[in-house]
């Protein structure tokens, strides 16, 4: 049976949430020693759901014990990686699960102030979260002396203002501090010098919402869900030409083929699966054949040649032109580069320009190799992984769909160009 944790109850209303057993995990956590809460999360093998998959309990344990400065918990609700729309769903359907997770995590790391950094475009979601924080405070789940435990916590909802880079954790901290979102050089890591120069843990919405169940039922229980080192359940957001695009919670390890058929409803009539970007737009693309062999867990997706990332599964069908699709992504990453690192700032621009020429049928033979080599030179040569986030799609698109790029370079296009494009629905 498929266990559901994150979208099990859909209760935006606090009464309904409490009735369904909500805030009991917080009560239980507050009766434990804070180290034991962290130990339980370590035992669960929960890994960060924001993209990097870093072990959550381990991250919490990096907060230096002897440091007497205030500590902060920051919840990353920036959700700007193209193809990713799971955190929004979680916030809308189960906001108190997130708030309960924030309270437990704050207790574990000793934070009295938590900030939820939410992308500026999520106006409705911001309002909902603020309301829910107020309701939880009124009922004594937040604020001073929570549930008579002596633990105090305030949560503030902080709106971003339109910048993909602010999803990167250190750019996010700069942004809360009221600055341009420029990623910081690491080390020092945020656990030591984070928000306002203080020890800080940054976790994704989905990661934190997974915590209450771990406390309630135990780390051992959670670690047995899913597949081996990929423990637990995960939200996958699937978009593109499928019958039922949307957000689905599954235990990690499900064959992609089953997910596509049973959850996403299969391809739209008249569409044939061509390629899959399995973890948000910045991970390598997979051919249909590669994707159909993999399972949806960290190890299997990596074995297939890509990354599980945020779980934003982007489906491309036979009507998609790979040169044009890559151009869409190149334009995005070029635009979103913060400009600090030359390879990302300039490389992104060069790649976009060359792809634009290629797509318009004005490219030359050497352009493909040139684009590839620019990407190769961006890889792992920047402060933050935004450079990689363009380099990886570029290298994989060219490697796996080279004949399409060559046809464009020869001026033949792909025969798919129609006025205005947007071909999948035509």
């Amino acid at each position: 049976m498929m266990e559901k944790i994150l979208l099990k109850t859909e209760a935006a209303d606090i009464e309904a949430y409490i009735k369904a057993g909500g805030y009991q995990a917080l009560r239980k956590a507050l009766a434990m020693k804070s180290e034991d809460v962290t130990a339980e999360v370590k035992k669960s093998n929960l890994r960060g759901r924001g993209g990097a998959g870093f072990p959550t309990g381990l991250k919490w344990s990096f907060i230096p014990k002897a440091n007497t400065k205030p500590r902060y918990l920051v919840c990353n609700a920036d959700e700007s990686e193209p193809g990713t729309f799971k955190d929004r769903e979680l916030i809308l359907k189960n906001p108190h699960l997130l708030i309960e997770g924030l309270a437990i995590a704050s207790y574990a790391i000793g934070a009295k102030q938590c900030y939820i950094y939410i992308r500026g475009e999520f106006a409705k979601e911001t309002g909902l979260l603020s309301d829910c924080v107020n309701e939880a405070s009124k009922r004594g789940y937040l604020g001073n002396n929570i549930l008579s435990s002596g633990f105090d916590l305030n949560i503030a909802v902080h709106r971003g203002a339109g910048a993909y880079i602010c999803g990167e954790e250190t750019a996010l901290l700069e942004s809360i501090e009221g600055k341009r979102g420029l990623p910081r050089l690491k080390p020092p890591f945020p656990a030591v010098v984070g928000l306002f120069g203080c020890p800080t843990v940054i976790n994704n919405v989905e990661t934190l919402a997974s915590v209450p169940a771990i406390i309630e039922k135990g780390g051992d229980w959670y670690s047995k869900l899913g597949a081996g080192k990929s423990a637990g359940t995960k939200l996958f957001s699937v978009s593109g030409p499928v019958k039922k695009p949307g957000v689905y919670e599954i235990e990690l390890g499900m064959p992609f083929k089953k997910f596509l058929e049973d959850y996403a409803g299969g391809m739209l009539e008249g569409s044939k699966l061509k390629a899959v970007i399995p973890g948000g737009s910045s991970v390598p693309v997979l051919t249909a054949a590669e994707a159909l062999k993999m399972n949806l867990d960290y190890e299997s997706v990596q074995q297939a040649g890509s990354m599980l990332g945020s779980g934003g599964i982007i489906i491309l069908d036979d009507k998609a032109c790979m040169v044009e699709t890559l151009l869409v992504l190149a334009k995005f990453y070029h635009h979103e580069s913060c400009g600090q690192c030359t390879p990302c700032r300039e490389g992104g621009g060069w790649i976009e320009k060359l792809l634009r020429k290629l797509e318009a049928g004005k490219g030359k033979e050497g352009d493909i190799a040139l684009i590839y080599s620019i990407a190769e030179n961006m890889l792992a040569r920047t402060l933050c992984p935004l450079g990689d986030a363009l380099a990886m799609p570029v290298m994989s698109f060219i490697t796996k769909f080279r004949p399409e790029f060559e046809a464009h370079a020869a001026g033949n296009g792909c025969g798919k160009r129609e006025a205005g494009s947007g071909k999948s629905t035509q």
Binding site: P70, S80, E81, P82, G83, T84, F85, D87, R88, G120, E121, F122, A123, K124, A156, H158, R159, G160, A161, G162, A163, Y164, S175, I176, E177, G178, K179, R180, G181, F196, S237, V238, S239, G240, P241, P245, G246, V247, I277, S281, G312, I314, L316, D317, A320, T325, V328, L329, K331, F332, H335, E336, A419, G420, S421, G422, K423, S424, T425, Q426
Partner: protein
């Protein structure tokens, strides 16, 4: 010309100060408040805010220019923001965009003469499962088509 920060926004800024240990952290929330009131962030508004927070002009301007949501020129009553990213693109955003350009007779980044509509493209709105998406001011319109776009324009008062 000078810009006066309204009493309401000032009160809001004071309120916000309590949430953060450093005054500079109020900057972005304050800009949101000011834009909510004026519709955009003018040079004078930047001046006024830098005075209010005691921060250099360049410090505030640097932030305003970094974030795409701050409008640096007035926008129409309805700001149509068409997502141009991957899933919206493959599900038909380019056709919707060219349709909007034709209907409104403006290019990207422009405002109709009557001041009703501004047309922009934006990056992924985090709603790819209901692609294509158009945000009108702060509201998402999902699963759009050319037909639904026409209906939307009529509802918003486009005169034919």
């Amino acid at each position: 010309m000078s810009y006066k920060i309204s009493e309401k926004t000032r009160a809001k800024i004071d309120e916000l100060r309590k949430i953060y240990p450093q005054k500079e952290a109020v900057l972005i929330p304050a800009l949101h408040e000011m834009q909510k009131e004026a519709g955009w962030v003018s040079e004078d508004a930047i001046d006024a805010l830098s005075a209010c927070l005691g921060l250099p002009y360049a410090r505030v301007k640097g932030v305003v220019t970094f974030y795409t949501m701050f409008n640096r020129a007035p926008v129409g009553k309805y700001h149509l923001q068409v997502c141009r990213n991957i899933s919206c693109h493959s599900m038909g955003a380019p056709r919707i965009l060219s349709h909007l350009k034709e209907k409104l007779r403006i290019a990207e980044g422009e405002t109709t003469e009557d001041g009703l509509f501004t047309l922009s493209t934006v990056e992924c709105l985090g709603s790819c499962g209901t692609a294509p998406v158009i945000a009108v001011n702060e509201k998402y319109h999902e699963n759009m088509s050319v037909e639904k776009t026409d209906m939307l324009l009529r509802e918003l008062g486009l005169q034919q």
